[in-house]
Symmetry: D3
Subunit: 340 residues, 6 copies
């Protein structure tokens, strides 16, 4: 079985309840999450051995994040203690035609201020087969981007499969670099990329195109372009999201294996209990399926879409749907019957 | 006015809030309910004198259940104190394409371990005209099934009208009997049965059929078959439920009076606040209407459907819609205007 | 910039949570609001200087209401302390086909028992340009209606623009007068009226008509009739509300400027987080737009509709949507994307 | 066994949690209680048949109060529906050297506006042996005082034992009468009075004295004076309360039977979970003990003190300590061991 | 470093909040704990490798217990999945002179119904040096007692140090055996016993004595008697608890090493936030100190007392005080200064 | 009447509830406060015109802080919008012998990164008479210290009275300076200093002494030493705090006017609801009393001590006790009677 290492940030999330606005809320619900950690939790839930590598401050709030990793059965033995603070983000959960709102307070977090070379990647990757990172780590600081690139190169040298979720966040990227300055070198070792074409082209510094995701004829050449930058690329995939309202989404997906476009049905998600982390749930489902049934790419896409849809019903950053639940959902049992 | 006795189990229900999964929840909302008790509460709310007969442990948790009966104005004077524990069930409330999940912890409850003959049914039924039970009581233990059959026979002997909700629960029936071993003898004294044809045939040991509930021609013979087993059967009815998702249901009903099929319109229920007990709300509405306006079976069906729909908006096991609210709803006022 | 004075009542609102019914709720969420105050909050949020004039009791509950005004940046320097109690209303929030329910407990409130002449309107209106009141103040007591009429006449004399939300509440009007006894004299000084034609005609004592709000041909003469009673009337407008269920509304609007009918698109609102105060949000949006861009009546209507829709997603009586959010929503961005 | 009727008001109590001040609290805990009702609950808990007579409004908030009576097993069959509102009081729970604060909002409640003669006391008292009322009912309105006096006279005529808790509240008595105008006539039929000498003398219009409750020699003549006004008086008793802080009380009691002074030990109460209703718990304990063991007045006093102390640990207006718990406490088991 | 295995039951604890009584509480706080598990958590918190062996049901509630073990860094790899239910206990937290109340609902739990021989103890004990069990496991069922005895014998054979907390619970021991029938054989392999002399003598079938824990002269012979039954006994210790009230305890300890009596100072604990598990915190502190500094028995006792005191301030069954906090507390820093 | 300007930081405070430890808490209570802001709130509550000057980020969390200032009636018109984040601190509330724990996360806050000269102090001080700052502002960053010194010098030049709370926090002072490098220059313009002698000497770089606060003979010379550094010093005062436990404090105070030592009685505070901000409450009370009754220094000290004691019973950073409540408390009414 594959053994996965994910690298990135785990944050304290502070969210309002009952659709309250920030200014109304006398309390915040505290959970812990982050794009790459969320993927690791999905994998652990599906039975894949997953470890998360990050740096957290050696204070009580950092220890809370560590307890969360343990609780979710995600390996934490290479987590570094140090730095000044755990990154924080505030979330106001929208409804109907009022979208959710995120206020980031993650600058100068323990992982953003990590010194280059802080992690012993050769040792971390011993016995591991897969490395997962995301564009967020590249966005938060030069230090984090540098260390991530080190990890990618070492993973590549050691023969691990490398996956990346592009995860563009316009409110980040504050340290003086643009994605196109950083991402191409990082992406060039990747085997699996999650992200829509617009984001991929933007991060690679390519001209903007207007992809039509319903056109399975034009998509191969658009996706194929990525392989010029990422010679090892095997799989490119993206979530398709139609946002009717903050409470009502339609979710599908597209996957390209270098030759062929796979598409999923588009599913209704209504209501949305928690929108955050649904892309990570897609990524987690995709990786699980690529790991467990690498030759069935249609299933991989369907699994990813089903996992993504179920995540919308779950509070917090990461997906708590079980393997059985995702599989039942693929099989058509998404009508919400009571199990009793 | 009729006076109704219901017999069965009242449980402590422990449910998660805000769609949290079990593994996320640091607290449980505690309410009390059970199929037959829920029917009694509906009747009491509509102004029918209703009594609930059960056995609860003589400890603080049992006393909570007793206070609940009192609060809801359901007679409790024949409740026995004894046994070791109150049955418990855990409820995780789903949303969208994630269904709700029930974990039963009701084995060895006070009523499941009741000794045969523990209740003085002749005395209990004095001055009463109606006896209601359900297939759950037959499912939880041999003792409960035996005592329920005793009650049915005495009720029959004393001339009470007898109603049953078939209520098949696959996670129960653990004591070595199958429904077809137990239910035929219990059902044969019934005047009113609630349940779909598949469940009824299954419990009676008949071969599976594939009823088309939109076909009012074929239904009479399918329902008519029940009368071979239940010679006193006057009314058979069922909820029709189309589950779009855990948050969106479509609800209708069918009623058969031995001759004719009555059908209701199908109504939209969106969102679902609480799915549990909606069948009991249907049963409660049906019994109330059969008791108060026995000759208007179309109204009985419409009342039951409206009550069932309203229950979906109410937290807890039993229906708190008032008589006026159900009647307004039948009359078309279901568009949720503010009353002010 | 205009400076607005609103006059009316601020109440303590006690609402159940999680769609609980009154009889289930062991606690009430406490917020503060009232039709005219809600309009003042909207204006303050959009950057208009707004003051609220009322009377509150000099006890801790009254002081809470005062703190709320301060918090929302609504001027409170002319609030009188006195009287026995703050008005209260209880709110049970419905869902689906169960409507919300309001129980008023506002009789004998501080403002309802205010003595005529208690406010020094000449002083209050110094430097102000706009006066807003509503039909609720006319409904709660003779004293409040008398003082409101005094304010209207003084405002008129001093040349302020006067706006009124008709706000008919059948559970009020308990002091022996009917709307037609009181409202015509009060309305005759108004420049802006919010309310549907049926309500306007009813309050003016006119015969009931059956307006077809989709018919832009017949509407002008129906609205035009109002100008016979209100010679200064410049703008009459109304929210159009189609209530699919307590959780699903369709919202549009109509505006008449004496010559022409303006209509908005009808927008979907689903789910409804809080139905109360959505009319006040419409009024607040309308006033803001009339004040800031008096010549663009189509924008005024669109702004009012967008504000009204957003309010449905916000807990409490008043609208917390920001100017930017309403403008984004008019511009088509109502699909609830996460801002991050 | 004695059968007790209590007459008075049941209110909605809205209290802040976690020692929050009114201005900080976004919610209120809702419970129901009132001096005389609290006594009835105590009696019902100890196994005495108790009924509460009052008037509540026929709205959802009134129905909540009715459900509370049912839940607590207090008879409610003579409760009248009518009037405009349920009385409300707001409670801010203090701590340490900050005392609790009550804001009354009970004017014009259903019982305060009851019409004289509304209750059929002859019928209500059939089969009953004891009537309990308190000085609060005399304080809230002329109507309530009048009807209470009617009840007292009829009870006296029918031979019931009559008890009164003087319960002086300076924030009430707003309708133009002073206690000395009303109370003497009401008290003259009483057999049992609870209240300290200062209050009793004040209500009877006597000159102020400075009783020394540790002086068992001087007390008999002070208490004896009451018998001149209340010829049937058998028992006068009072709680002795030494308030170290809002969180720390010392509680004892004194009882006079016309001849002899009985005193109890003074017990430490720390912390105080809920101070309200502790006097009613004393009264409830006293009545229970006088009813069940009328000849053991020392036990009656000890029972009342123990009940009063236990109430300080219980949230809400009324005492939920069981008979067994109070008896254990008298017996010295007040050291708070875990029962497991 | 020592590696510890603890064996026993982990339960779902359902407790009321804010000192509410069971009958008032609409929700329960859900935590997980149990005597032996609590000891394992203490050890893990102090940095000792600790594993917990038990059996939990393979349902969502059982999985919650497993997540709790993971979160607390307690080894769970030998936990068996099986059986019908997780044991439950209900806790009503007292205050002042009202003690806390426990209602057990743990019969037929997964561990109580474990089959003899279910655990592979030889494998479990590989590389381990210490085995901890308690009298609760002996009390819940014959099966659990049998398997515990198997574990003890194997542990003894393999040379592990064996510790036991006597933990007498009168509400358990329902399966037909008395402690003296079971415990002597189990205790005879123990090296460390926690429990007062009365309990030890009772469990060993000895005549009751009246130990005076302040008399360091008489104690050695009383404790010495235990060594006749437990030939390997090295340490016997007990918590000394003086219960002023449910909110105020005085805590000390006594330790006997076969020769000498060690005593601690008695410390004030006020308020008591959570009384449950304070004995387990003592045991956890004692074991940690015996493991880390085996030759300093005075420190071991002081550490155990300080840990026990700190646990009284912590919600839940187990102790979350850190090693540093306990050491600071021993050093005299128990005056509750803010750390900032 | 004096008009006060306070300068410093307002933070978001995130605290656990019910004495939960950080690792247990799934939510945080969100309040806003900070040493100097808390003083401003106290003054506003007592009726003094108070303004708070700070810098907050122009995001939703910053706006929450602004709303809080408005709500508390503290002037905010000179607050600057800018910077990246609002300072945060986490608070775990202790009990008994477990102290509260603060985790600061305030580095790089908007005020810590303010540029020198950002505030127009001449304009801010127009019409004002008093300037208050604290040692925390000196501790958080060089920028904040520099700007604070600018403000002090300008205030001094303009003739305002200047007060300082020394407020030493060992977890701050991270920017490379020690108090003695910064504070002497800042303190030399002060008229009123709050802080114990040890802290004052430490900040001024003097040798440590061991003051005996019960010795009114030796204190004058110890305090007198301060005047060598602070030539304008009129009043030096300090809280005397004896911490029995986190839940039990004894509070007194000492004041020196250059000639004479004033001492207060020492008062019991039990329980402690919220320890944070009690020093600020002392300062707020002291300033109020110095402003309103400048010649009665004994009253000033008594008022400060009473305010400080009352603050211990109030949740949040600042004191919500009213002027009347503090005055009642000074007058001896601190026994926590119910006001009703």
């Amino acid at each position: 079985m594959n053994k996965v290492v994910a690298f990135g940030e785990i944050m304290l999330r502070l969210s309002t309840e009952r659709h309250l606005r920030f200014g109304q809320s006398q309390s915040f619900v505290a959970t812990y999450g982050g794009g790459e950690f969320n993927v690791a939790v999905s994998l652990a839930n599906y039975g894949v051995e997953a470890e998360f590598v990050t740096r957290i401050p050696d204070n009580e709030i950092g220890h809370c994040a560590l307890r969360e990793m343990q609780k979710m059965n995600v390996g934490s033995k290479n987590v570094l203690l140090g730095g000044d603070r755990l990154g924080v983000y505030f979330l106001e959960t929208g409804a109907g035609n009022r979208g959710s709102n995120v206020v980031y307070d993650r600058a100068n977090s323990a992982i953003a201020t990590v010194e280059k070379g802080a992690f012993d990647w050769e040792k971390i990757f011993e016995g591991k087969t897969w490395f997962h990172w995301s564009g967020i780590t590249a966005a938060i600081s030069q230090n984090a981007a540098d260390e991530c690139l080190r990890a990618i190169r070492i993973a590549h040298k050691l023969g691990l499969t490398i996956s990346c979720d592009l995860n563009y966040r316009s409110k980040l990227w504050k340290y003086g670099k643009e994605p196109k300055d950083v991402m191409p070198e990082m992406l060039k070792y990747c085997h699996v990329i999650l992200g829509d074409i617009d984001t991929a082209y933007f991060m690679l510094g390519l001209d903007k195109v207007a992809p039509d995701y319903t056109n399975e004829v034009s998509l191969p050449s658009l996706y194929g372009k990525l392989q010029e930058f990422c010679p090892d690329l095997k799989i490119a995939a993206t979530t398709l999201r139609y946002s009717v309202s903050a409470s009502h989404q339609r979710i599908g997906g597209v996957l390209f294996d270098g030759n062929k476009i796979f598409t999923s049905v588009v599913r209704e998600v209504h209501p949305v209990v928690d929108r955050v982390g649904t892309g990570d749930a897609f990524m987690g489902g995709l990786l699980y399926s690529l790991i467990s049934q690498p030759n069935d790419l249609q299933r991989a896409l369907n699994f990813a879409v089903a996992a993504c849809c179920l995540k919308h019903t779950i509070v917090g950053d990461y997906n708590l749907a079980t393997l059985q639940e995702v599989e039942n959902s693929i099989g058509g049992n998404a009508s919400g019957l009571v199990s009793r």
